[in-house]
Symmetry: C2
Subunit: 456 residues, 2 copies
């Protein structure tokens, strides 16, 4: 396999592998050729401003400015804390887990080449206090990320930490905060401007959940000492390869088409299963992208449809001992996306003591990376034998370039799926109702009490 390779394998979605009832045939695809052409066109020929912004972020983000800022931040902190939620947190967290040492924060300082790293994406007070127990505010930089600049959770954290830092270092608190937001009239931007905080801007038309390849994901990546040029280059390579109008050569388009056909046949869940611990949080990032972009009360040709496939996160091999009983024998309501890694960063030989359990030498020339891949193959074979549809993305290794390809694959797949489903993948109208509720309760003194309950 070539360096930085990304291989999309769809064989286990086809009738040849899982039979006529569950599989997709070439005819099934040819039949919806017009839809496919139209979906392609929606994304590439007639892109809306939100779609254009995705490519523009790749081409126009000033990577040198990010690298320079990161260099300065690295020199003045031992801990870097991202304050954000949803699209402002999940991408940075996925990058962190994928590309740094698996126990980065627990390594002694002389074995780390980057500050300790935290993504605080909740308002749980016990978690926030726990953070304070392990960082030195004098040596901490906070990165406050909010697209709108008005996110209650993020601003609450920001103002709370700002006060604490100021109590320790006075006016110099301003050097402990960098802001990533829209260049608009949101509270965060205005506040940052008034106080002279360092700012990076998210392009106006770039949706939060599509923003991992803007300063939202790239500044944290650069602070971690990662190669952000390669991250962007990988994403561009996937973007360029996906301009092929031949669906058989276009991985995100073909994957969207196969998923769309499965969705119309009742596969209401999309399960992503990396067989690689460091890719675990890709599942969380993808889950937001897929759920928030495609979960819709859609009005199509005058009729109302409640649509959207539910993303389900799993991890191999652990899920075999937790979820696969349901996946194999339960309702056939899921489509599976495996992510396989050919070469792990390092390895451990399989111990020979295992052999007597198998009655022969199974460990010779084999490492743990072989075991995890054998487990994956066995799982896909089992799913296939139960006629359950699965696709597999195999990557040569986990590095910046390949991760960029993975991000862009799922972003484009989401856009194509949105086009096939005829929904706008950029807004999130229903979430407003919660925000309105939060504000209403905050403004009131209401205490809600349960009515009928059982107490134990």
């Amino acid at each position: 396999m070539k360096e930085n390779a990304f291989i999309y394998d769809y064989n286990n979605l086809l009738t040849t592998n899982i039979g006529d009832k569950e599989g997709v045939s070439f005819d099934d695809i040819i039949k919806i050729n017009d839809k496919i052409t139209k979906a392609y066109s929606t994304v590439f020929d007639k892109p809306v401003a939100n779609t254009k912004a995705i490519l523009e972020a790749l081409n126009k983000t000033d990577l040198n400015a990010i690298k320079n800022s990161a260099k300065s931040i690295r020199s003045r902190c031992d801990a870097f804390v991202v304050l954000g939620i949803g699209g402002s947190a999940l991408g940075a967290n996925a990058i962190f887990k994928a590309l740094t040492h698996f126990r980065h924060n627990e390594l002694p300082k002389n074995k780390r080449n980057a500050p300790r790293f935290f993504v605080e994406d909740n308002v749980d007070p016990t978690r926030l206090n726990a953070l304070l127990d392990v960082i030195d505010l004098n040596r901490t930089v906070f990165c406050v990320v909010s697209k709108s600049g008005n996110t209650t959770e993020t601003l609450s954290q920001f103002f709370a930490f700002r006060k604490m830092v100021e109590a320790q270092v006075g006016e110099a608190w301003k050097e402990h905060f960098v802001v990533v937001t829209d260049d608009n009239q949101g509270k965060l931007n205005r506040y940052a401007e008034q106080n002279g905080l360092e700012r990076f801007f998210i392009p106006n038309d770039l949706g939060g959940r599509y923003s991992v390849l803007s300063p939202v994901g790239l500044l944290p990546a650069a602070v971690l000492g990662l190669n952000i040029d390669a991250l962007v280059a990988g994403a561009k390579a996937m973007y360029d390869a996906s301009k092929s109008q031949d669906v058989w050569e276009n991985a995100p388009l073909l994957s969207a088409v196969l998923d769309y056909i499965n969705y119309t046949r009742g596969k209401c869940m999309s399960v992503v299963i990396p067989y690689c611990e460091s890719l675990d949080l890709i599942g969380d990032w993808y889950s937001q992208l897929w759920a928030e972009s495609l979960g819709r009360n859609a009005v199509i040709d005058g009729n109302e449809f409640k649509i959207g496939q539910t993303p389900v996160k799993a991890l191999g091999t652990s899920a075999q001992h937790s979820q696969f009983q349901l996946y194999l024998e339960g309702p056939s309501d899921k489509i599976f996306t495996f992510i396989a890694v050919q070469k792990f960063k390092n390895d451990i030989p399989l111990p020979a003591d295992l052999n007597d359990m198998f009655g022969q030498d199974v460990t010779k020339n084999r490492n743990f990376s072989d075991l995890i891949n054998i487990e994956r193959v066995a799982s896909t074979i089992a799913l296939t034998s139960f006629n359950r549809p699965s696709e597999t993305i195999t990557i040569s290794e986990v590095n910046e370039c390949v991760l960029g390809k993975i991000f862009m694959f799922f972003i484009l797949k989401t856009l194509f799926m949105g086009a096939l489903l005829k929904v706008n993948p950029y807004n999130q109208p229903a979430v407003e109702s919660i925000k309105i509720g939060v504000k209403a309760i905050l403004k009131s003194d209401t205490k809600t009490m349960p009515l009928r309950t059982i107490e134990v």
Copy 2:
């Protein structure tokens, strides 16, 4: 609210709150009264051996033996590593996250009153090597957990670490391993016996995913310095309260009944959402319990049904910014279980800088714990306004006793659900097909190659 309280609130599942179409009426429940009586009887009047074993583990586990062993382990290690997968890992991990400091492993030694703690539940070589970078094998104790004693993943880890420890400390390697397994002829038990390793036994009839309140979960808990008496007492309190034959007084039974009615109406997913970071891994533990116990190719009255509700893990408030768009507007195919916490371990005042965004003083006398609870209430109100069914478990606080209640609530709910669905909740027949596949591939030289693929 009383100390150690557990309150089950089902109002948002009823027709009164979410309307006739989505809600359950009292009549709906009365109509299946015979089924309910039978389900109760299956669990309490005519329990099979596997069910009896759950109560026996509570009553007969020698807690003093566990405490004594834990005391000795604590004195001889700085790191305690559980090697296990599935039911041998998820309970211990849930206990760890719920009841210790949120950044336990990152605290300096003098601020921790327990060894650092790791649950290694995968065979990813990069993750295993990362562990080696942050522990000192001379001061590490491994706890090898496998019900069958033949789990390939766990034995691979065990033998690999055993070799490394022996290389450092020679014959004394035996003091670095403690084994939790079935007292049977599995490889782990035999090996432990031959080498004189300390052993704890899992009762023969106790299924792995039901074993958190046996040495599987209790030994790690005791090593962490937690109160295992209270953990068991909480579980017993829930068990005893659930013996009520009145469904309206029996929280796990009522919850199972309401979920069963929802399931028969097409709610194919069960979403658990704690609004509390420390309860996050309860979702993983529950996901295995629910999926593996109820995902079945069931033969009922001669007909074959593929059944099982898919567990989906979410976390408040983060999920509001990631999943709720789908939850509110997408297909109504889910039932939601919120877990609310009244009193957090500690708190932080909401910063007054927030007030100008709201145009009034909303932060006075309010803390982050109020914010997270307000967000939860706003989310349940939003779901209810979209007629989406939800139930809420409110606990007074996160402690050992309450956690014991939570474990037993979900265990009993699963058993009642199994009885209502007429399935055996104890086996996992389909998983065997993967294990057979793994062994077959390990024994062969086969390399599987993708056929039709797209490479980028």
